[in-house]
């Protein structure tokens, strides 16, 4: 592929992750390309979500977490001890498994990020909210209801609202942790459509249980098993021509 030569937006070097004495990730080395969707697949407990959370350092919330190795966002080492986590998380947004809207209005949910990052001007905020909701394909459905409580939206709408909330901070990378697992098939299809649109402007890393989904939305796929990145390749190659026996067993449904 033509982008092969290009440097990765995110480069992971010899990453090991421990929860107290339990090692959750073993020596991960990989790269995620700019404006591409990378899917991470693997059975439950294989470390794919833990890995995702090392990229915005959200793993540190769990007591007893230690990380070795390094991840670079462009040239910035994420695990540098002087790193500003706020700045990192501004650049690397995250969408979680369960859509979790704040108990505010739709508007306030989207404006939350920009506000905490210091934007006070009302018309500027209005502009960001509108732009983000449009980019998340939610604007048309909720226009005119900006001030109604976000919790009244459907599950699929809530997940897109959460994405709009992430977009409002203007990140460069979006991490998605099984974003469709709580959604119905129609909402899932809309979300996948949205992901394909978003990759024009963002670098996306998505963890998914659903191999069809990985095949549909991603350009690259990594297969995790027992804390190791067993195989990483273009999605087409990995699904058609897996090199590792374990990958083959997993994608053909022999376990997982």
């Amino acid at each position: 592929m033509k982008i092969m030569g290009q440097d990765g937006k995110i480069r992971v070097k010899n990453l090991n992750l421990y929860y107290n004495k339990f090692q959750a990730l073993y020596d991960i080395n990989t790269e995620f390309k700019q404006n591409r969707v990378t899917a991470l697949i693997g059975p439950s407990g294989c470390g794919k979500s833990s890995f995702l959370r090392t990229i915005n350092r959200l793993n540190e919330l769990i007591e007893g977490t230690t990380t070795e190795g390094q991840i670079y966002l462009d040239k910035m080492p994420i695990y540098d001890k002087d790193l500003d986590v706020v700045n990192l998380r501004k650049r690397v947004g995250m969408v979680f498994q369960k859509p979790s809207v704040f108990p505010f209005s739709i508007y306030e949910n989207v404006a939350y990020g920009p506000k905490i990052h210091g934007i006070k001007d009302r018309s500027h905020l209005d502009e960001i909210v509108e732009k983000s909701l449009k980019a998340a394909n939610l604007w048309q459905e909720i226009a005119g209801r900006l001030n109604s409580p976000a919790v009244r939206l459907s599950g699929g709408q809530q997940q897109r609202l959460v994405i709009a909330r992430v977009l409002a901070v203007e990140p460069e990378v979006i991490l998605m942790d099984e974003p469709a697992s709580a959604l119905d098939p129609i909402s899932t299809a809309r979300l996948e459509e949205l992901i394909t649109e978003l990759k024009n402007s963002y670098t996306i890393v998505i963890v998914t249980h659903n191999m069809q989904q990985a095949a549909r939305v991603s350009d690259y796929t990594g297969f995790f098993l027992n804390g190791q990145l067993v195989e990483f390749n273009t999605t087409d190659e990995l699904f058609v021509n897996p090199r590792d026996k374990r990958t083959e067993d997993y994608i053909t449904g022999r376990f997982g």
């Binding site: 706020v86 998380r89 979680f96 108990p103 939350y112 959460v162 909330r165």
Partner: protein, 276 residues
């Protein structure tokens, strides 16, 4: 025989238990209104007591009650809520300090109010030389209601879904900003409920207040003045045989106070839940 009848009997028992509670409340309120209503009028509420409470009104004790409760809340709410935030959001799960705070808090919650009164008397009134005053009384009440406020605020903060914090942090918010802007607003109804419960306790407290705020019938003008609360007034009127009718009148107003507090709390909770 077994299934249907057993079901009916238990059903009836549970229904009866509920009715008993309602009846107790109704009987108390109706009796107090019946006995107290005749002595409550404009004068009773707005004029100062005279002849040790046998004549005049109870205005100074109403002000005293408000004053004492306000001081208690101003001290206890910030400390209690801050402690709750520390315990639920900052302390590590294995923290020995958090364990100690929780243990202390639970123990304090079970201490009888007269002991708080005795402590307040020895510590604030005598040792700190603050005398019988609104400040001594308010601080003692603050100590007394602190465990309730802390515990309920803790439960309220704990009931906020963890995902809120995760989402907020992932958007680049610091921990304190996330707490201030997402967690505390979500926990507010629970926190307010705790405050209301403790207001009720503070308004009704007698033993601790009589030992620390005194029982002066003069209008308390400053924090260093002694004050008599409505409950203390009721106690003195009744035990010293000054006027049982006026004691009931005071009780009537205390009940009205508590009902208003509960009503306002309900109102604020409802308007809050409408937004979400």
């Amino acid at each position: 025989m077994q299934g249907k009848w057993q079901e009916k009997i238990w059903n009836g028992m549970f229904w009866l238990s509920g009715i008993i509670i309602t009846l107790i409340l109704a009987v108390i309120i109706i009796y107090i209104i019946y006995r107290g209503f005749s002595s409550v009028n404009f004068n009773f509420i707005f004029s100062a007591p005279s002849r040790a409470g046998k004549a005049g009104g109870i205005s100074t004790t109403i002000i005293g009650t408000l004053y004492l409760t306000a001081v208690a809340l101003l001290i206890a709410v910030p400390i209690g809520v801050a402690t709750a935030i520390y315990l639920e959001q900052y302390a590590r799960r294995s923290s020995r300090l958090a364990y100690l705070i929780n243990l202390t808090n639970d123990t304090l919650a079970g201490v009888p109010s007269i002991l708080f009164g005795l402590f307040g008397f020895v510590f604030f009134v005598i040792f700190l030389n603050m005398g019988w005053s609104v400040l001594s009384g308010g601080m003692t009440l603050a100590l007394m209601i602190l465990p309730t406020i802390t515990r309920t605020a803790q439960e309220a903060v704990k009931s906020v879904p963890d995902e809120y914090l995760e989402n907020s942090l992932a958007l680049g918010a610091g921990r304190w900003i996330s707490i201030k802007r997402v967690i505390l607003p979500s926990a507010l109804p629970g926190i307010i409920t705790g405050i209301i419960l403790s207001m009720g306790r503070a308004v009704g407290e007698t033993a601790a207040v009589i030992l620390t705020a005194g029982s002066s019938l003069n209008m308390p003008m400053s924090l260093t003045d002694p004050a008599r609360s409505m409950s203390v007034h009721l106690y003195i009127l009744a035990t010293e045989g000054l006027s049982l009718e006026r004691a009931f009148g005071t009780a009537f107003l205390i009940i009205i106070f508590i009902l208003i507090i509960n009503y306002l709390a309900n109102l604020s909770l409802r308007s809050w839940s409408r937004q979400t």
